[in-house]
């Protein structure tokens, strides 16, 4: 096989794979695409704390993702605790959340957190900073940072909210994991 033939064969294979992925998004295909193209945390980056402005932008983003309104103090506290835990103890999250806050602020042309809730929601919808990533998004999203926001930051913020007492309260739990209390609660239905 000549070099030209080899390159042509590779192109045909890649084109076929992409076409297959777009046309036939089976779970297996999706997993393969996600594994190959998904953005990853930079595990070698520093750990630490976000600045207050960065934290405010990240929390404001979480509000759009999980509620149709600004958080109450308790809801905010749970999300702040989650983000702080991530950035201080888990490699890669400080860089992820810094990048997310910077990207949101850039698109807002001001501090994202300074926008009202409706404007934030419009921006998030317009830029599709949402966790509903489809296979083709991995191929057509050329800004890897935007993809990282959708694939890594948005789901993590959602997880943070639903891990918090406020998140557990949405399904009727009076006490969330990690909070100590009534031992025998587990013996009866909740509520």
């Amino acid at each position: 096989m000549t070099r030209r033939q080899f390159v042509a064969a590779c192109l045909v294979f890649a084109t076929g794979f992409v076409a297959l992925a777009l046309a036939w998004p089976l779970p297996l295909t999706r997993r393969i695409i996600a594994r190959l193209l998904a953005p990853r945390l930079d595990r070698g980056s520093d750990r630490g704390r976000l600045s207050p402005d960065e934290m405010a932008s990240a929390v404001a983003f979480a509000e759009v993702l999980v509620e149709d309104r600004p958080f109450t103090e308790d809801e905010r506290g749970g999300v702040v605790e989650h983000i702080a835990e991530r950035t201080e103890h888990h490699p890669g999250y400080l860089a992820l959340y810094r990048m997310t806050a910077a990207l949101l602020d850039r698109h807002a042309a001001t501090r994202f957190a300074a926008l009202d809730h409706r404007a934030r929601t419009r921006l998030v919808l317009a830029r599709r900073f949402l966790p509903d990533v489809r296979p083709r998004d991995y191929l057509v999203t050329f800004d890897r940072r935007e993809l990282a926001v959708r694939v890594l930051a948005a789901p993590d913020l959602i997880e943070g909210f639903y891990d918090s007492p406020a998140g557990w309260a949405t399904i009727g739990y009076r006490q969330s994991p990690g909070r100590c209390g009534d031992l025998l609660r587990y013996t009866r239905p909740e509520g």
Partner: protein, 522 residues
């Protein structure tokens, strides 16, 4: 530093040994490779654990290195803890006595090996172990071993979810019993009653027994124990009479120091104990200390495990405890063990991913996400299976010449395979668990891929024949008169049950023996 007894490792075996020896008036020095974890930080540890962090990870990661070969990759990450308290810092607290049959597998079923002691030999020590750890349970298990006394604490009541399991199991003729656990169902021994914080892997209240709280504290209070944390035993040196003369150890700075004990007890866990013996090869023991049998590091065992889960239409309300409350040992005993391993069933109170993770995985947001979690969450039941593993020569802990630790020593290399005997048990267990779940009305019953429990066993097995074992029934090395190897490494067979209570009982029994020797005039 001179001492009567030097104990290497402050996990379950080492800490209990320290408490038992000091209680009998014997001075000990305990060397622990990991740190002391301040109890005041438990709440922080619990928060970190809930966020997927391992709070027990030793700060010096170079000490954690290991490699794995064999058909099933075996990692120690998350599956052991270095630190004062060892594995009991993160264990689930399930405190099972072995069944009398477990000690006689060869005689009864022509598989595995018999232990050099019987259940009757160990029963008084099981009782002491239960009292010292504070085990809650009920004598309601028709497949459990005979007992000479009641459990120290009343059992934790069955959960709301257990109602489904019990009804379905009962219809199939399967007995479900209360889970025995070293966790306070009432205040006990100065520790609080469990308050269902659901993070038992980093219990923030101390209601779950961990030997840093229950035994090291006692040993130190006696004034006879010196516990050195963050120091690694590097070599055991022997004299011309084949006795351990010194234990060489070092802290993170690498500076070598020595302890000169009358008796040395190695309690580093099945992996590190074998590794230390292999590292201590000398002209007198060219293949490793106490290894004239060639069996140090051999017969490494764990517990192959699967989860079988299904979904109900009703809610079962998971994540309100961090532990299970129901079990069945019906399949852990009996003549079927001639052809397949015994297995025991744990009925899970939380059989699905936590709420936050499910929300994150859903790829939904806003109001649609709220509806999704309300609809989906809290309807799963699951049965976890732990399967015994026969000792096999091909499964081992050896030294990896290509990888080095912080001190420049070869790291442990784990070789782990699962055989047809265990495979047949997992197949049978899957059928049993599926029938139970279908009996609850669960739909979409699925089985996870095989995993393994955080239990490492074998590697310095006990026995009467020095050619076929490393230690005798008192856990004394056949080849080295003042060396004792305690912990699950001495197990002859894996048995289906979690190992910790048996580790404790054997350590107490060995401490009895050592204390008698120490008191005897030289």
């Amino acid at each position: 530093m001179d001492t009567a007894v030097c104990i290497v490792g402050a996990g379950a075996a080492g800490s209990i040994m320290a408490a038992e020896l000091t209680r009998r008036g014997v001075d000990v020095v305990v060397l622990e490779a990991g740190p002391r974890h301040d109890f005041a930080r438990r709440a922080e540890y619990a928060r970190r654990f809930l966020k997927g962090d391992n709070p027990w990870r030793a700060p010096l990661t170079a000490l954690e290195r290991h490699t794995s070969v064999g058909a099933v990759p075996y990692t120690l990450e998350w599956n052991r803890v270095r630190g004062v308290g060892g594995g009991t810092l993160h264990w689930e607290g399930y405190a099972f006595r072995f069944h009398p049959d477990d000690f006689r597998l060869r005689t009864l079923y022509a598989v595995g090996e018999d232990w050099p002691l019987t259940y009757a030999d160990l029963e008084p020590y099981y009782r002491q172990a239960e009292e010292s750890l504070g085990v809650a349970g009920a004598a309601d298990d028709p497949w459990g071993p005979p007992r000479s006394s009641a459990f120290p604490l009343p059992a934790f009541p069955f959960s709301h979810a257990d109602r489904f399991y019990r009804e379905a199991a009962s219809a199939l003729g399967i007995a479900v019993a209360h889970m025995p656990q070293a966790r306070n169902s009432a205040a006990y021994d100065g520790r609080a009653r469990c308050s269902a914080c659901t993070v038992c892997h980093a219990c923030p209240t101390g209601a779950k027994a961990s030997v840093d709280l229950t035994h090291i504290a006692r040993a130190e209070a006696s004034g006879r124990a010196t516990v050195l944390a963050d120091v690694s035993a590097l070599r055991l040196d022997v004299d011309a009479s084949d006795r351990v003369s010194t234990v060489t150890f070092a802290g993170h700075d690498g500076k070598r120091r020595q302890v000169t004990p009358r008796i040395c007890v190695v309690a580093g866990g099945a992996v590190e104990t074998a590794r230390l013996l292999l590292l201590s090869a000398s002209t007198r023991f060219p293949t490793g200390l106490a290894n004239r049998s060639g069996l140090v590091g051999k017969y490494f065992m764990s517990h192959p495990s699967i989860d079988v889960t299904g979904r109900l239409t009703e809610r079962v309300y998971p994540y309100r405890t961090g532990f299970s409350t129901a079990t069945s040992r019906q399949f852990a005993v009996g003549a079927a063990r001639r052809t397949r391993a015994g297995f025991f069933l744990e009925f899970l109170n939380s059989a699905e991913a936590p709420l936050g993770r499910q929300a994150a995985w859903s790829a939904k947001w806003g109001a649609e996400l709220r509806e999704h979690v309300r609809e989906r969450f809290g309807r799963s039941l699951g049965v976890r299976v732990y399967c015994e593993q026969l000792p096999e020569l091909r499964n081992s802990v050896s030294l990896d010449p290509d990888a080095r630790d912080h001190f420049g020593d070869p790291v442990p290399r784990l070789t782990w395979n699962v055989g047809a005997y265990e495979g047949a048990a997992l197949q049978a267990a899957r059928g049993v668990a599926t029938r139970i779940l279908e009996g609850t009305g669960a739909l979409g019953v699925t089985t996870t891929a095989m995993r393994y429990a955080s239990h490492q066993m074998g590697t310095h097995r006990m026995g009467d024949d020095p050619r076929a074992s490393v230690v005798d029934g008192n856990l004394r090395a056949h080849d080295v008169a003042n060396l004792y190897l305690v912990g699950a490494g001495c197990f002859v067979t894996g048995t289906p049950s979690p190992p910790t209570l048996t580790i404790a009982a054997l350590a107490i029994r060995a401490a009895d023996h050592i204390a008698t020797l120490i008191r005897r005039p030289a």
